[in-house]
């Protein structure tokens, strides 16, 4: 008996050791990034051969961060990314949930075909869409109110809307909302209708307030790719004042780059997401899990 106990605690100690090993592997590059962002270049290279590479010791300062704002229009990029992500998330939640509401809770003729068509878009990877889409948005007109005259401009390249509008509607968000709405009893709609509520009121006051977890999931799954997007803005946005944070990395693709500054910039655009992640850790991970179980 005693023997099995010891061997059990031994094996659980072993398991813990493996867990810690995985944790170290998962975390060391990010720790290295954060720590290096506080050091001058010379010290980064000097510390590399020892454990000091992972410790904020020696000549620590925020100089690299200050330098980043001189080299890169980082403030502008951060504002752009925040704005583009926020608008995409908010509009995405509204439009996709509205669509899913009608598809799951109303008797609209032909909704089955529409829902199937929406789900069919899931099989097209964005990479195959990207290049025809660049060509396509370049042909689209856009209406702009200039004073009191309506101006029509051709081509969406190099605008904010090209970073937002194509990503608002999302089949997967519609699917998630649809699944969630199905689990809310339809008697609630009945009761509201008897009280004289219209469909939009039911959507706004009955169903959406109950759909918190679905909204959290959609918000996260829309925010992450919006903040991290790289390929798309690389192709469609040229002007510096319209570009998002990930493109700022290109400012460091040159010879004689200061690695301390690179690490500072990388930390600057990663830390907001990491903080968000840690704050909403539970719903974050659950939402990824539920999104994975779609097959």
């Amino acid at each position: 008996m005693k023997e099995t106990l010891t061997s059990k605690s031994l094996s659980s100690a072993g398991t813990m050791l493996v867990r810690i090993l995985f944790a170290v592997v998962a975390a060391f590059p990010l720790v290295f990034m954060l720590v290096s962002s506080l050091k001058p270049d010379q010290q980064i290279f000097g510390d590399m051969s020892s454990v000091a590479a992972f410790l904020p010791i020696g000549n620590i300062s925020f100089d690299n961060y200050a330098a980043v704002f001189d080299r890169v229009p980082a403030a502008r990029f951060l504002i752009n990314s925040t704005g583009v992500s926020a608008v995409t998330v908010v509009l995405g939640i509204f439009i996709n949930s509205l669509c899913a509401f009608a598809l799951s809770r109303m008797e609209v003729r032909g909704k089955r075909i529409v829902f199937t068509a929406i789900l069919a878009t899931l099989i097209v990877p964005f990479q195959t869409l990207a290049l025809p889409l660049v060509w396509w948005v370049n042909q689209l007109p856009f209406f702009e109110l200039n004073g009191f005259s309506l101006e029509i401009s051709k081509g969406w390249l190099d605008t904010y809307q090209v970073q937002i509008i194509p990503f608002i509607a999302n089949a997967f968000s519609i699917y998630l909302y649809h699944q969630y709405f199905e689990s809310i009893p339809k008697e609630l709609d009945e009761a509201a209708r008897i009280d004289g509520a219209g469909w939009f009121r039911i959507y706004r006051l009955v169903v959406m307030p109950l759909a918190g977890p679905a909204t959290a999931t959609v918000a996260i799954l829309t925010f992450l790719p919006a903040w991290n997007s790289y390929l798309w803005p690389l192709m469609v946005v040229q002007s510096e004042e319209l570009r998002p944070v990930m493109i700022g990395i290109q400012y460091f693709f040159q010879l004689n780059v200061s690695w301390g500054e690179v690490m500072a910039y990388a930390s600057l655009i990663t830390v907001p997401v990491v903080v968000l992640f840690i704050a909403f850790q539970r719903s974050f991970i659950n939402s990824i899990a539920s999104s994975g179980v779609k097959g």
């Binding site: 944790a23 998962a26 609209v108 869409l129 990207a130 290049l131 509607a169 992640f277 850790q281």
Partner: protein
């Protein structure tokens, strides 16, 4: 439910399979119409956007692949038949790209899904600090691939963190290669960072699968005196059948779409050792502005994705 002050619409009868519906009254027609109208008004915005930015470009891409369209060009778009495909299939860079993504996928799919499963098993049981480990394992996933690439670009230098570590661990015996500038090590380097970044994502999917297996099955197995390995072999592994298919398909498709890492770290080099299908598509479509040729590459990529997910689904289904 059964009390009705207002006549029910035909829709609600289907929506909620209530007991017997009361006989319909004459003025149900306008109400039915209103439900149709408001329903379509709610569906329209999302449907229109999907039509405009997914369906149309997908069809356009298919069409453009058979033309000579360029991103900005004074010439009218002309139909050129299969010219783009002939050019594509006679281009050695394309075959090299295909070979590279196959190499990438063949290594990444088993290694990454295996490591992800190991991580999921490690944190599946409740223990002190389980949230801490879960958060740490997942941290690389929320870090953008562009940042990850830049970070590893720095660590992979000849005098970078990786080589310093190898040298220290081997007491100076190993003199690490110049990872990204050597055609022999450039792809393995990209493979390692890709697995590091994405394993946490698949760990979560494995975890969702593990938690869907009933605890009673394990209790029964323990009563029968099954060892840990036997429990895994006869309870866990069969229980993860659907998760397995899902993970195989998603990792393979992601692997074929390899782009960000290559774009940031190597630009397809050295000597085309890391070029990929999507990288070639972006290079020709964006840098050389050859929309038509890029569309042809995208079309081949799409067919490949369809083919592989079909084959995988077939194979994983066949085994039961």
């Amino acid at each position: 439910m059964t009390t009705t002050q207002i006549p029910p619409s035909p829709g609600r009868r289907v929506a909620a399979p209530a007991p017997a519906a009361p006989p319909s009254k004459p003025h149900r027609r306008p109400r039915y119409l209103r439900e149709q109208l408001s329903g379509w008004a709610m569906i329209a915005p999302a449907a229109a956007l999907l039509l405009l930015f997914v369906f149309l470009p997908a069809i356009l891409g298919f069409g453009l692949a058979f033309t000579n369209a360029r991103l900005v060009s004074p010439r009218p778009v002309e139909f050129v038949g299969a010219d783009n495909f002939v050019r594509l299939f006679t281009d050695p860079t394309f075959w090299r790209a295909l070979l590279n993504v196959s190499y990438f996928a063949v290594v990444v799919v088993p290694v990454q899904s295996g490591l992800a499963l190991a991580m999921a098993l490690l944190i599946n049981k409740k223990f002190r600090g389980v949230n801490f480990f879960r958060t740490l394992y997942f941290l690389p996933v929320v870090t953008s691939m562009v940042v990850v690439s830049l970070l590893w670009l720095f660590m992979y230098r000849k005098d970078g963190l990786i080589n310093e570590f190898l040298s220290a661990a081997s007491f100076g015996l190993i003199d690490g290669p110049d990872w990204l500038n050597d055609p022999a090590t450039s792809m393995p380097a990209i493979i390692i960072l890709s697995i590091w970044q994405a394993a946490g994502f698949h760990m979560i999917i494995w975890l969702a699968g593990l938690q869907s297996i009933s605890g009673e099955l394990y209790e029964a197995a323990q009563l029968d005196g099954a060892s840990r390995w036997h429990q895994f072999r006869y309870v866990t592994w069969p229980g993860l059948r659907h998760t397995r298919t899902l993970i195989l398909v998603t990792i393979t498709i992601q692997a074929l779409g390899l782009f960000d890492q290559v774009s940031v770290m190597t630009q397809g080099g050295p000597l085309d050792s890391t070029t990929t299908i999507i990288f070639e598509a972006v290079r020709s479509g964006f840098k050389q502005q050859e929309t038509s040729y890029a569309s042809a590459i995208s079309l081949v990529f799409f067919v490949l994705v369809l083919l592989i997910s079909a084959v995988q689904r077939y194979l994983t289904r066949e085994k039961d």
